[in-house]
């Protein structure tokens, strides 16, 4: 059967990166369609009329949107190299950590990056509290998925690269190896894992992008 798999993405979208990794881990052939979000294609608007965002996976002409929904779809459709555990309780925990990552961890680390002065100090305290929960979760494991990379690793994975980009841009350590040894190790292990390491967005482009975002944020906060 001819499988047609397309992924609509941007070069830097951390949500799309999850899908790239999942498809490659499962060895699924696919076509990439790069989008310019300032000039969205008619196809993007047709495939994701509700949110008009990437990533979108289109499988045999049928679109699926929202990265965690896409990950579950991929896992249910292509059974090799399973991303989610089989046990319902373990699955619930995996979903919980992925959601925690999106709702709390990512946003708190972003706050550390984008804020200044006292607000940044407070943001760092909040981020540390969240990261400590992840540190606990890593006990006795190489990856959040255990021996192999799994759903939670893919969901949190962008942090393994993004945090170092942020740290370099703002000149501040966010993940201290001494305070978060297990999470720090996970970041190294994940970032260097074969499929993961080959698919990071170009670092120089990332540094330019986030420096620009930071400059814009500083400019708008000082003019208000």
């Amino acid at each position: 059967m001819g499988e047609e798999v397309k992924l609509f993405r941007t070069w830097s979208s951390r949500f799309a990166l999850r899908i790239v990794w999942a498809l490659k881990i499962k060895g699924i052939e696919y076509e990439t369609v790069f989008e310019d979000l300032s000039n969205k294609s008619p196809l993007l608007l047709q495939y994701n009329p509700v949110h008009k965002k990437v990533p979108i996976l289109v499988h045999n002409g049928r679109p699926i949107a929202e990265s965690l929904v896409i990950l579950e779809y991929i896992d249910e459709t292509w059974k090799q190299a399973p991303l989610l555990p089989e046990d319902p309780y373990e699955r619930a925990m995996a979903r919980f950590w992925a959601k925690f990552g999106d709702d709390k961890v990512l946003t708190s680390i972003w706050s550390v990056f984008i804020k200044q002065g006292k607000e940044q100090e407070e943001a760092l305290v909040a981020a540390m509290e969240n990261l400590k929960f992840l540190e606990e979760e890593m006990k006795g494991k190489k990856f959040f998925g255990g021996e192999r990379i799994g759903y939670v690793d893919l969901a949190l994975g962008c942090l393994a690269n993004l945090i170092s980009v942020f740290e370099e841009t703002i000149g501040l350590k966010i993940v201290d190896e001494e305070k978060l040894p297990l999470f720090y190790s996970w970041m190294q292990n994940f970032a260097e894992a074969p499929i993961i390491r080959d698919n990071w967005p170009p670092r120089d482009k990332m540094l330019v992008k986030f420096q620009a975002l930071l400059d814009a944020a500083i400019a708008s906060s000082s003019s208000s």
């Binding site: 509700v50 929904v69 779809y73 319902p88 619930a92 919980f96 959601k99 925690f100």
Partner: protein, 219 residues
């Protein structure tokens, strides 16, 4: 083995209502513990240390948090009765997408509806109705969002209709007039015991809403 199911809940919580409906659909017996959110129980703090929120399902001593995750867990453990998610992966993806949409959009907009006044409130009303329009289009001519069978999206949206009734009175807008298909759908859902026994009485909810406004210092 005896199954022990405990639900840590708060009666007006839309997220709690979802889980109650799911448990009822599966015909499961459970113990419901009402939490006082101003004075959270040690059990809640132990079972959900990260968010300290309800609902929490405790199954044979093990906690599951976050309502969407709880409902999927219930569906996967008790899979032989009344499936809540469809079996086809694409249909499942659609169901998860819409449930996610409902929780993200309606929850935020609902909050804006009662916390704001004047132009801001009018804008929120408009946006809320736009979201309901999208949902009405998704429903189409199907009896339920799940098709012939009541399911995941239906039980995610129904609790919002419970609160919608309160908002209609409070902010003077009528979903009946604007989105009649959804009203028909909600009435169909209310005919199910699992739904009617899980949602609070409208008057009780309205009285709670008035209290809530007072606490937040809103007229």
């Amino acid at each position: 083995m005896a199954e022990e199911i405990i639900l840590l809940d708060f009666w007006p919580s839309m997220f709690g209502m979802k889980v109650r409906i799911a448990l009822a659909e599966k015909g499961l017996k459970y113990e419901r513990k009402e939490e006082d959110l101003l004075n959270k129980s040690p059990l809640l703090l132990e079972m959900n240390p990260i968010h300290k929120k309800v609902p929490v399902l405790i199954h044979n001593g093990k906690p599951i948090c976050e309502s969407q995750i709880i409902v999927q867990y219930i569906d996967e453990v008790w899979k032989d009765k009344s499936p809540l998610l469809p079996s086809d992966p694409y249909e499942r993806a659609k169901a998860r997408f819409w449930a996610d949409y409902i929780d993200k959009k309606l929850h935020l907009l609902g909050g804006k509806l009662w916390r704001t006044k004047g132009e801001e409130q009018e804008a929120s009303k408009k946006e809320y109705l736009e979201c309901l329009k999208l949902l009405e289009e998704e429903l189409g001519d199907k009896p339920y969002f799940g098709g012939e069978n009541f399911g995941f999206v239906d039980l995610t949206l129904m609790p919002y209709f419970s609160w919608l009734h309160v908002f209609e009175i409070a902010t003077n807008f009528s979903v009946e007039v604007e989105r009649p298909k959804l009203i028909t759908w909600s009435k169909r859902c209310m005919e199910r015991d699992s739904v009617s026994t899980s949602l609070p009485d409208h008057q009780k909810l309205y009285d709670f809403f008035l209290q809530l406004k007072k606490w937040h210092g809103i007229e």
